[in-house]
């Protein structure tokens, strides 16, 4: 009987010691993890376009953290959905992109300046302050800052904003990926007047 008691007491003592050690360790070596909202936000494309129904990427990240579906970001594409699924350990959803099938093409807003009436509505709509101009004066888009979210197109009363595809320049041009196994990697161009 005493043997049993001793055994139980010893086990209890051990449990208490190890519990204390573990508790101390968990406090002492606590890993300050990146808050999940930050991680989600870093995966979102930061176009601040609002197509998810939230005013910007950060609010959407917060909403996702609170359980909203993570497939509502057309600019991020399916890749972002997959990355978010991985991060969150949620089911992989298909991208919910009604009417935004060409989301992968980089675009930039362009104001046809002779048609602009200077109403400032697009300035108010732009989530990244990429449109400059004052009331009654012509507005223009700062191309480098424009995220191509097309939020300014809708409010324009005279429909003078176009979303133009970003064409490659000498600086941004890059070789395309080769066609792959079984294909020749070259192409031919017709040249006259050599």
């Amino acid at each position: 009987m005493t043997a049993v008691l001793i055994a139980v007491a010893a086990l209890l003592a051990l449990a208490a010691v190890f519990g204390a050690v573990l508790g101390f360790a968990s406090e002492k070596f606590k890993v300050e993890g990146d808050p999940i909202v930050e991680q989600i936000d870093s995966l979102l494309p930061q176009t601040q376009c609002g197509q998810c129904g939230h005013p910007g990427c950060r609010p959407y990240a917060e909403a996702i953290a609170e359980g909203e579906d993570h497939n509502r970001c057309p600019p991020g594409g399916q890749d972002t959905v997959v990355a978010l699924s991985e991060l969150l350990g949620r089911e992989e959803l298909t991208l919910d992109n009604e009417g935004a099938e060409d989301a992968n093409v980089a675009k930039v807003a362009y104001i046809r300046e002779d048609e602009c009436i200077g109403c400032t509505k697009c300035i108010q709509a732009c989530p990244v302050d990429a449109i400059v101009g004052a009331a009654k004066l012509m507005h223009t888009v700062i191309v480098d800052e424009c995220t191509g979210c097309d939020l300014c197109v809708e409010p324009c009363p005279v429909d003078c904003i176009d979303m133009l595809e970003v064409k490659p320049t000498l600086q941004t041009w890059g070789w395309h990926r080769p066609a792959g196994i079984g294909e020749r990697p070259d192409s031919r161009i017709e040249v006259v007047n050599l």
Partner: protein, 342 residues
């Protein structure tokens, strides 16, 4: 007039993968010739039949995968697999044995993994091991060396008209093993087995291995393979053998016997050197081959099978990514090599 536009470089070697593979096939010819000289026409029939089976199964599977059949058959990789498996099979093998082995090698070990370049295991060895496990008797019946069968006999063996039992004999490795499995054999007992005493290694087999060594040297001279894998392989097999033999020459076979018996040279120059399933970097390949050789010696000496090239190669195929992980070369401009990527 039209101009080509392409990325540099605009000049390339005339070589291609098909030519590489053809060189490998040519390099096996001495070995095949000696096998024929020693054991009769069985190996030739095996190799030809294996090639037919390989091409047909590869073509069928390519068709099923919707690929360009001619384009992929031209790389000769299926032929190489077939030739190597055909050489590894005993000359007594009936047609169905080869059929099963080769079609399994091509379809399961190669095409199901995505075809050439995607297979993690050496297809020929996968086929060999399948047969060895499924049909151990048929796979271990070799003929006595130096008594070649006529073409008719070989053909009858191939078609199954001739029972193999009356013809088969043990290989030197087998003999050595059997002598020891009964208990510690004496020097005298070993001397009584004439098959263990050829010119410099096991009878008959010494010439087979010498022929494969010659073929392998040809491959190295043509820069089809680098020296790393054969040297590593032979060192991994020979050094422990030497060490053990110095300690106890009765209990352990001498290194020459080890190096020139069974599939040692075929394995060192033709099988372990399959680049697809081997390790990647030079250092990695050296380690990879050393371990294969070591494993062969261990299995031959302590294991349950007389020869072990196939098992060792497959085991090391499995470890190749792990070896790659630790043997990245140091890139120019970097202080140390990187770890942790495969």
């Amino acid at each position: 007039m039209s101009l080509i536009t392409s990325t540099s470089p605009h000049a390339t070697v005339k070589n291609n993968t098909g030519a590489f593979m053809r060189q490998v096939i040519y390099a096996t010819l001495p070995g095949l010739a000696v096998l024929t000289w020693q054991f009769g026409w069985g190996s030739v029939i095996n190799v030809l039949w294996a090639v037919i089976v390989a091409l047909v199964s590869e073509a069928l599977f390519l068709k099923a995968r919707g690929r360009n059949i001619a384009f992929y058959l031209k790389d000769y990789s299926a032929v190489v697999t077939a030739v190597l498996l055909g050489l590894a099979l005993p000359p007594t093998a009936p047609w169905w044995l080869t059929l099963i082995g080769v079609s399994f090698a091509i379809i399961v070990a190669k095409q199901l993994y995505g075809g050439l370049g995607m297979n993690p295991f050496n297809p020929a060895m996968v086929g060999y091991v399948l047969l060895l496990i499924s049909f151990p008797v048929a796979m271990t019946q070799w003929l006595a060396p130096g008594e070649p069968l006529s073409f008719v006999q070989s053909w009858q063996l191939f078609t199954g008209q001739l029972p193999v039992d009356g013809l088969s004999g043990a290989t030197p490795l087998d003999t050595f093993r059997t002598a020891h499995s009964a208990g510690a054999a004496s020097e005298g007992e070993l001397a009584s087995h004439s098959i263990l005493h050829g010119q410099f290694a096991g009878l008959g087999w010494e010439w087979v291995n010498l022929a494969f060594l010659l073929g392998g040297l040809y491959l190295i001279s043509r820069k089809i393979i680098t020296w790393h894998i054969p040297v590593g392989f032979l060192a991994g097999l020979g050094l422990p053998a030497l060490l053990a033999w110095l300690i106890d020459p009765v209990r352990f076979a001498d290194p020459l016997f080890q190096l020139f018996s069974g599939g040692a040279m075929l394995g060192a120059f033709f099988i372990a050197t399959d680049p697809v399933s081997a390790a990647t970097s030079r250092m990695g390949r050296l380690i990879y081959a050393l371990l294969i050789g070591l494993l062969i010696w261990v299995i031959r000496t302590f294991g349950g099978y007389p020869d072990a090239v196939a098992f060792s190669v497959l085991l090391l195929n499995l470890s190749a990514p792990f070896i790659d992980y630790y043997t990245q070369p140091r890139t120019y401009g970097h202080k140390s090599s990187k770890r942790g990527v495969s």
